[in-house]
Amino acid sequence: MITSLASNPMLRRFDPAVLTAFGCIIVLLLIGSLVNENFLSPDYLLQQLQVGSFLALIATGMMIVILLGQIDLSVPWIITVGGMMSTAAAGWGPLGATFAIPIGILCGLIFGLINGIGVAYLRVPSMIFTLGINAVAQGFMIVRTGGFAPQDMATEAMNELATGRLVFGIPNPVWVWIAVGAATVFLLRRTVFGRCVYAIGNREVAAYLSGIRTQRVVLAAFAISGALAAFAGALLAGYSTKAYQGMGEPYLLPSIAAVVLGGTSILGGRGTYLGTVAGVILITLLQSILSVVQIEEAFRQLIYGAVIIGMLLLYGRQRRNI
């Protein structure tokens, strides 16, 4: 079915994986409406988008790194760094409060840069280097907070950005997602940087021999991933009005899953942002259906895992290289 759909000239422009993802979204919406009559109401759907926006920011950064053929496992604690540093900055006086979010983002950016140096210049496999950075980031935050839950509060602005609905009644985080998403699409499709990302993900040697400064591209990609993760952390802190230990843990695996379910190959070189959008919505809907149905956490995890495998078997198979 997938392949015959794909031979339709109009649909051929679209990656079959992305189409399947959207198809699954529709299925999930239907299931959702069965379990909860309010599921398809605009209010509820907007709320889903709002919750999904945080995951989306993280998945965006993750996607760029995965497109390179790498992975960023430092996301959990960089999110926490973003949350904790921005709330901390809020307590540093009026200047700190104004720049709370940018300061949080900056901290994430710095960790991202270190990731980039380790992977691009020291040639350490990204899986293990980002794991180490994750541990270091955690270490820093433990030192900072003295091991206790941080008492800093988020600024009004942070809270407003995360929970308010400024424009057209659409939640602010969704606007943030739209802005970041648009910038990412632009970056990947229209800029030299984007071309380089795909090239490196496809074959780094050939990109290098074509005169591309591959190390700089990898460095920038990890920096972006760190910055976006920290940004998400700051927003999450704004949402709950404070940061807390382990706030980033629940986001690592879903962000990787969202990217992969959206048709991006974990090996790099292939994938579209539209797919990541679909993947994020998919994961968010799945998680909310599972919580609406009010089954135990246990079954949730089980179904979560089974569904991801099922969807991947549908279309995310390893394609042979030409």
Partner: protein
């Protein structure tokens, strides 16, 4: 690239063995040094109890590290080992109880659980043709869900005689856990390593196309790797039940063991690209990892700074391999 001219047969052989085992030997050396410092500075000194406590903790991570080694050798990764570990812990807290016979059956049941989990991973990777990293993330979630079903709250019990025996000391002050680990290595790892199947696993990790062209059973090798990983994770789950006397579905624990197993494997000289390394190296990598933490305790390192220190040490140790970059003259060698 040099040509190796053979001199007299069997002379110079040690040179090749040395080259092959370099990572393992390095990890071993580092461990010996660190452990010496640790016991030397421990307030209680070098005595059996200190060593046994350290051994129990070390063996736990070592078992998971061996599990991870099987999969990493095939150039894959298993992000579900921690979850299988926790699942088997929960299962053990139910069935490894009662009489000696019942407990033995319980042990077999736990091992079977691990095998089945590993087999599921293997089947999905092989026949679903999905990438290991994504597969094991998803199956890990599922395994953890089952663990939660079994033990929503920490509890349960375990056959005390067995537990005390395996976490205690043998005559002479030798930790039973260390002997158990040795048995695992002798009964599982060495026969595997020397078998046709084991060699096939190395070949698949080194170059899957070459392995296929050479007529090796690539699928069988991968399946064995994932199944054995599950088995070893089950042994680890059994052991932690003996240590804690309970079963607990702790996601923090599961994650920590998974990620630490990857660190242990890298520290032990196993290449994440597959085809190189040994479980023995991974064991020492795990022990080194554990001992660092203990060392900090012994030196009265401010507990607040310990996680940061551990993280930095981990980072530096994985960067040590980058020293080889200095000697690279052709930049094309930088790429894979």
């Amino acid at each position: 690239m040099t040509d190796y001219a053979a001199t007299a047969p069997h002379s110079g052989d040690w040179r090749y063995w040395f080259g092959e085992q370099r990572g393992t030997l390095l990890a071993f050396a580092v461990f010996v040094v660190m452990f010496a410092i640790y016991t030397g500075n421990h307030p209680a000194g070098f005595n059996a109890d200190v060593v046994t406590t350290a051994a129990n903790k070390g063996v736990l991570l070592a078992l998971i590290a061996i599990a991870q080694t099987f999969v990493v050798l095939t150039a894959g990764i298993d992000l579900s080992v921690g979850m299988i570990f926790v699942l088997c812990n929960c299962v053990a807290s139910y069935i490894v109880v009662g009489t000696g016979l019942e407990a033995t059956l319980g042990v077999i049941g736990v091992l079977a659980t691990g095998l089945v989990c590993g087999a599921i991973n293997g089947l999905i990777v092989i026949y679903g043709r999905l990438q290991p990293i994504v597969t094991t993330i998803a199956t890990g979630a599922a395994f953890f869900g089952i663990a939660l079903l079994i033990r929503p709250f920490p509890g349960g019990e375990v056959h005390e005689g067995l537990a005390d025996f395996l976490t205690g000391q043998l005559p002479g002050g030798i930790p039973a856990s260390a002997v158990a680990l040795l048995v695992v290595v002798l009964v599982i790892w060495i026969p595997f390593r020397r078998s046709v199947l084991g060699r096939a696993v190395y070949a698949v990790g080194s170059s899957e196309p070459a392995a296929y062209m050479s007529g090796l059973h690539v699928q069988r090798a991968k399946f064995a790797a994932y199944a054995l990983a599950g088995l070893l994770a089950a042994i680890g789950g059994l052991f932690i039940t003996f240590v804690t006397y309970t079963g607990e579905a702790s996601s923090a624990n599961a994650n920590t063991y998974t990620l630490n197993s990857i660190a242990a494997v890298v520290l032990g000289g196993v290449s994440l690209f597959g085809g190189r390394g040994s479980a023995v190296g991974a064991i020492f990598g795990a022990l080194v990892f554990r001992t660092i933490g203990d060392l900090l305790f012994v030196f009265d390192f401010d507990p607040l700074w310990q996680p940061l220190f551990l993280g930095i040490v981990l980072l530096i140790s994985v960067c040590l391999g980058s020293f080889r970059l200095i000697r690279i003259r052709n930049r094309l060698d930088l790429f894979g």
